[in-house]
């Protein structure tokens, strides 16, 4: 872990330390994930989405969010976790996502919304290197809150990779 730190500090340390912010956390297959609360536009119940042709399975389709067409992504499927049936607690967290090309509004299906935590930069730890088995590209860092571990997501990186880089191959 120590060997990771210097490099990590160099790349993201400053940015992380500057973010003494509030995080909305949600549950995905028993783990707690967090996103910057300022990105959260709203939280709504699950509603059927209109599928879009030629898209990966984790992109469930698009919904009508008060007149705007908003794509919905299932984070379970995106992370390769086993799919579950959508139940009464299944929620869609609508986030503002900024990628290289534009700012998007997107919905993410999660198992349940958990809590809002203040996470100071000093509580953040870089994700340990698990080797190639675990994809850590979209993990901003780990934080311990009340004895629990919260995984902070880099949602911009995730969406940017999915929507900005891949479509060239499709067209």
């Amino acid at each position: 872990m120590n060997s990771v730190l210097p490099e990590y500090e160099a790349h993201t340390g400053q940015a992380l330390l500057a973010r003494n912010g509030q995080y909305l956390t949600f549950i995905l297959a028993g783990e707690e994930y967090g996103v910057d609360i300022l990105r959260v536009q709203e939280i709504k119940g699950w509603d059927r989405a209109t599928p879009i042709p030629h898209t990966p399975a984790h992109l469930l389709g698009v919904i009508n969010l008060r007149g705007t067409i908003v794509p919905i992504m299932d984070l379970r499927l995106r992370f390769g976790l086993s799919p579950v049936d959508y139940g009464p607690t299944t929620v869609v967290v609508v986030l503002k996502v900024g990628t290289a090309t534009r700012e998007r509004t997107m919905g993410f299906v999660v198992d349940a919304v958990s809590d809002v935590h203040d996470i100071g930069g000093d509580l953040l730890r870089p994700a340990p290197d698990f080797g190639p088995a675990v994809d850590l590209r979209f993990v901003r860092g780990l934080a311990s809150v009340e004895e629990k571990m919260v995984i902070l997501l880099d949602i911009d990186g995730l969406v940017g990779r999915d929507l900005d880089e891949l479509p060239a191959a499709l067209q």
Binding site: T50, I52, H54, V62, I69
Partner: protein, 711 residues
């Protein structure tokens, strides 16, 4: 008082470009000979506003350059020189150079100094010749950009002696001498002496008249143009004398770069001076700063405050009547809403009828609101037509042809997006008409036509569409040459007999150009196929009609708006899709025997005499999984660029107008889908991109393209 002027810059540029358009239009319609007072006035005013604005923003180069054009115009206006074609051309060129300068400044790019000085020299030459007295162009205002303001590099340590005597009505025009003095103080160290000689005795003093004059000694190297620029707005409301003289007054040392503190200090001096000297007179004019300082110099930019400051943001000018209509409708909507909300509080069945009435009213309100909002995006086509007089003027001169341009229906409104995208295709059509369509004057006379050809551009509404017609009275399309060229290019089989209309349509095929030599007017390798593709991408169509020896007419039909589309709802595997109605030729029930496979893979459908390729949406969109295929299926025949494809769907639902929403803004482009819409039940339906679907038919599309031409 430091108003951040940069927020008004965007407005200045916008208004300047409008002013340039006015100048250009005026110049083109200005008859030669003695000046037409009204026409010249309009041009002069436009030039003057640009100069004034540029002065305010410290764009010295623009001010200086515009001054030349303005001087020339002023002499014409005063009747001291007639309108000559040389003057007109020079002024037209000046509008181009100005437009270029302003654009460069707006984008922060370097200006084309060579073009400016060449054009300036041309104007100077014109100014010098003739009996008009040349007005000196301030030699000490070297061309500078706004960045250099304040730190100019003069070469002597002069002191400017400024005598500034506001007229009595000065305050009543919303002006404030103090503001001007402070502005002056930013150009260098100022020493202000207030002239109280003309202050009348208290008994006869009118409190809101201005009786004070100011004598200002300004140290520093500020050029005269900058000093005059300070007084630009009040030119007609004061007497201003500017003299340059070496002044050895101690304490007035030259200041090449005035420090902020010193400016502030001198500003305070100036401020302090005024009330003191004024009170030594009799009464104090309202000059104590606070209330007056907040006054923005109002006369010429009343709209500035409510305009967006962002230069990048696109803006749209909306007639006040449209805005008022919207406000009325929103008012009604609020009333309906409050009426309906009563029902939510306590409802009993006896109120059902009232509720239904209310809902009907709500529906009416909503519909009207939608229509009115859409109208905001509608602009008259004159915005686009206005560039053609100049284009035709320049082109006909270059081609040695005489052309009269007739525009009509300029007030016909269409969507801003459509408007912005129709300009280039129209320019191309007009170029073609001038270059290939109209004959030379000699030829025209020889065949008994008037020497001056006519090019007419018309626009009108027809149904839910706008029709734009570009017509010339030239020779018409040369069908023999078109046919020969088409055969040569392999676009048409050698022995094939085509109807006249089919030959005319060949000009829209990719890879076709009849121009024997590429001229610089048309035929830059961009053909009519590009024109047609552009128009089709806007959801429109183009047709050509030609009568030999009498002329060619291009008719463009465009949807009024890109925000709404007439759609046919179809169902495929339980999902609803929207097919644009404009591309549907017919829909019919599938006759299983008419379906057959070509070489085992591609499927074609026999439609009367033709075979058309089919596209099973279910498979194309990967929707097959899970859904049961219905026995009775339908085929929707769509046509794009003469190519027809049959879309196989499960069911036809209703036809309705749908509001087009972007998939791209929050997601990305999806092949085969042009957008999405929201249906009555709130769910999302995808709109099919028929163009892309037909093109994805690949080789199959071409089979029917051939039959399309022959049909």
């Amino acid at each position: 008082m430091n108003i951040d002027l940069s927020q008004f810059l965007a407005v200045f540029y916008e208004e300047s470009f409008e002013g340039l358009a006015v100048m250009e239009h005026g110049l083109l319609t200005l008859p030669e000979g003695p000046a037409d007072r009204e026409g010249v006035d309009a041009i002069f005013r436009a030039a003057h506003s640009i100069k004034g604005g540029a002065g305010t923003f410290g764009l010295g180069a623009v001010t200086e350059y515009t001054h030349r054009a303005e001087t020339l115009l002023d002499e014409i206006r005063a009747g001291r020189r007639p309108v000559t074609s040389a003057a007109r051309e020079a002024l037209l060129q000046a509008t181009d150079v100005l437009a270029q300068m302003l654009r460069a400044l707006q984008q922060g790019e370097p200006v084309d100094e060579a073009a400016i000085s060449a054009s300036a020299a041309r104007l100077d030459l014109l100014l010098r010749e003739g009996d008009a007295v040349p007005v000196p162009v301030h030699p000490d205002g070297p061309s500078r950009t706004d960045a250099e303001l304040g730190g100019s590099s003069g070469n002597d340590d002069n002191v400017w002696q400024v005598r500034f005597q506001p007229h009595a009505h000065f305050f009543r025009t919303g002006n404030e001498p103090l503001r001007l003095l402070r502005e002056l103080a930013q150009l260098g160290e100022c020493r202000v002496e207030t002239l109280v000689a003309s202050v009348p005795p208290l008994s006869t003093l009118v409190a809101d008249d201005c009786h004070l004059g100011f004598s200002i000694k300004l140290a520093g190297t500020a050029p005269e143009t900058d000093i005059r620029a300070v007084f630009d707005w009040v030119e007609s409301d004061c007497d201003l004398d500017l003299t340059r003289g070496r002044d050895a007054t101690p304490g007035l040392l030259p200041l090449a770069t005035a420090e902020a503190g010193e400016i502030a200090a001198s500003a305070v001096t100036a401020e302090a001076d005024v009330p003191v000297s004024a009170s030594s007179g009799t009464s104090v004019p309202p000059a104590d700063g606070a209330p007056v300082a907040s006054q923005v110099p109002a006369p010429r930019e009343p709209r500035s405050a409510n305009r967006p400051a962002d230069a990048q943001a696109q803006s749209i000018r909306v007639g006040i009547d449209k805005v008022d209509a919207l406000i009325n409708l929103v008012g009604e909507l609020v009333i309906t809403q409050s009426m309906l909300s009563r029902f939510g509080e306590h409802f009993d069945p006896s109120m059902l009828e009232a509720l239904q009435d209310g809902l009907a009213q709500l529906g009416r309100n909503t519909r009207e609101l939608q229509e009115t909002v859409l109208k905001i995006r509608m602009l008259p086509i004159s915005v686009c037509f206005s560039r053609f007089p100049r284009l035709v003027h320049d082109l006909s001169a270059r081609l040695g042809k005489q052309v009269e341009l007739k525009l009509s229906g300029e007030q016909t409104e269409l969507d801003k997006t459509v408007l912005e995208n129709i300009g280039d295709p129209l320019v191309h059509l007009v170029r073609n008409c001038l270059d290939h369509g109209l004959e030379s004057p000699e030829r025209r006379l020889a065949i008994g036509k008037p020497a001056t050809g006519t090019l007419s551009m018309q626009a009108w509404h027809e149904g839910g569409a706008i029709v734009i017609e570009v017509a010339d009275d030239g020779g018409g399309l040369n069908r023999e040459r078109i046919h020969a060229r088409a055969v040569e290019r392999g676009l048409v089989a050698a022995g094939e007999i085509l109807t006249e209309q089919a030959i005319d349509d060949i000009i829209f095929l990719p890879g076709f150009s009849t121009a024997e030599t590429l001229s610089d007017v048309s035929g830059r390798g961009v053909g009519m196929d590009v024109v047609r593709r552009n128009i089709q991408s806007l959801g429109g169509q183009i047709e050509v009609k030609s009568r030999s020896g009498q002329g060619t007419t291009f008719t463009i039909r465009l949807p009024l708006t890109l925000a709404i589309l007439d759609g046919q709802l179809v169902e495929v595997a339980g999902q609803v899709f929207v097919v644009p109605l404009v591309s549907i030729v017919e829909s019919l029930q599938i006759e299983p025997r008419a379906l057959s496979r070509v070489s085992g893979a591609a499927e074609v459908y026999r439609l009367r005499e033709d075979y058309i390729p089919t596209l099973r949406l279910r498979e194309a969109f990967g929707l097959a999984a899970g859904a049961v295929e219905p026995v009775r299926r339908l085929i929707v025949v769509v046509e794009v660029e003469g190519a027809r494809v049959g879309l196989v769907v499960d069911d036809l639902l209703s036809q309705q107008q749908v509001v087009i929403k972007s998939l791209e803004s929050n997601y990305r482009q999806v092949p085969g889908v042009s957008g999405a819409t929201i249906l009555g039940d709130g769910s999302v339906a995808l709109i099919l991109d028929v163009n892309a679907l037909v093109r994805s038919g690949g080789g199959l599309g071409r089979v029917s393209a051939g039959t399309g031409v022959a049909a």
